[in-house]
């Protein structure tokens, strides 16, 4: 996915902005915005292809939250 080709306008721009954010001060805000857009989109019926894209985007946001924002890893107990 690149910003030149926005296939999923309901959430893709917010997601790409989060992925591209370098400033730690605004990263949380970007991730929250992407997560919000994805959550709202998830409430609608989406096709398999977009569903897979949403799933992958969510996983990437989780990695950012864990690695850059210091969220505790729920998979390690």
């Amino acid at each position: 996915m690149t910003s030149q080709h926005v296939k999923y306008p309901a959430w893709q721009r917010e997601f790409e902005a989060a992925i591209a954010e370098d400033d730690p001060k605004t990263l949380r805000q970007r991730v929250d915005a992407a997560e919000s857009a994805i959550f709202v989109r998830l409430q609608n019926v989406v096709g398999d292809e977009e569903g897979q894209a949403l799933h992958e985007a969510t996983q990437r946001l989780r990695v950012i939250q864990k690695d850059k924002l210091g969220y505790p890893d729920w998979n390690k107990r």
């Binding site: 929250d32 997560e35 919000s36 994805i38 959550f39 709202v40 998830l42 409430q43 799933h55 969510t58 989780r62 939250q65 924002l69 210091g70 969220y71 505790p72 890893d73 729920w74 998979n75 107990r77």
Partner: protein, 140 residues
């Protein structure tokens, strides 16, 4: 004979995302038998608020800063054992149900089906079953 006033079940919403909290709050706001009594942004704050508010139900996100949903659920079961817990997550990874069960979560609802929170909450609170880790409910 006077009708018994409806007892509204109290709900604590726990999610680090304010938009998610707002949308879930709206879902419960239109239900006469529920009242959102508080919100928290992470697991640690959830425990503090739950101890003070004694909600009937906690809607708990999984991935949060400070303390995640599984760690919070374990603590909530000790601090407020009568409170029911619904894990509200986008995660569909293998093993989620097992980890939720181990943490003492009563039900799991996936975030792509937010309206399912209401019937799941009602069913859980209407149930006389004591919390049993072997009886985890899932709704996708």
């Amino acid at each position: 004979m006077l009708a018994q006033p409806l007892r509204r079940r109290t709900v604590l919403l726990v999610d680090d995302n304010a938009v998610v909290r707002t949308l879930v709050r709206r879902l419960f706001a239109v239900e006469a038998d529920f009242e959102v009594s508080g919100e928290a942004e992470n697991g640690r704050e959830a425990i503090e608020k739950a101890v003070n508010l004694r909600p009937d139900l906690v809607i708990l996100d999984l991935a949060m800063p400070v303390m995640n949903g599984f760690a919070a659920a374990s603590e909530l079961r000790k601090s407020v054992p009568d409170t029911k817990i619904i894990l509200f997550t986008v995660e569909e990874a293998e093993g989620i149900d097992r980890l939720a069960n181990e943490a003492g979560v009563h039900a799991v609802v996936l975030k792509h089906n937010a309206p399912e929170l209401i019937p799941q909450a009602r069913s859980l609170l209407d149930s006389e079953d004591e919390a049993d880790p072997g009886k985890l409910r899932t709704a996708s």
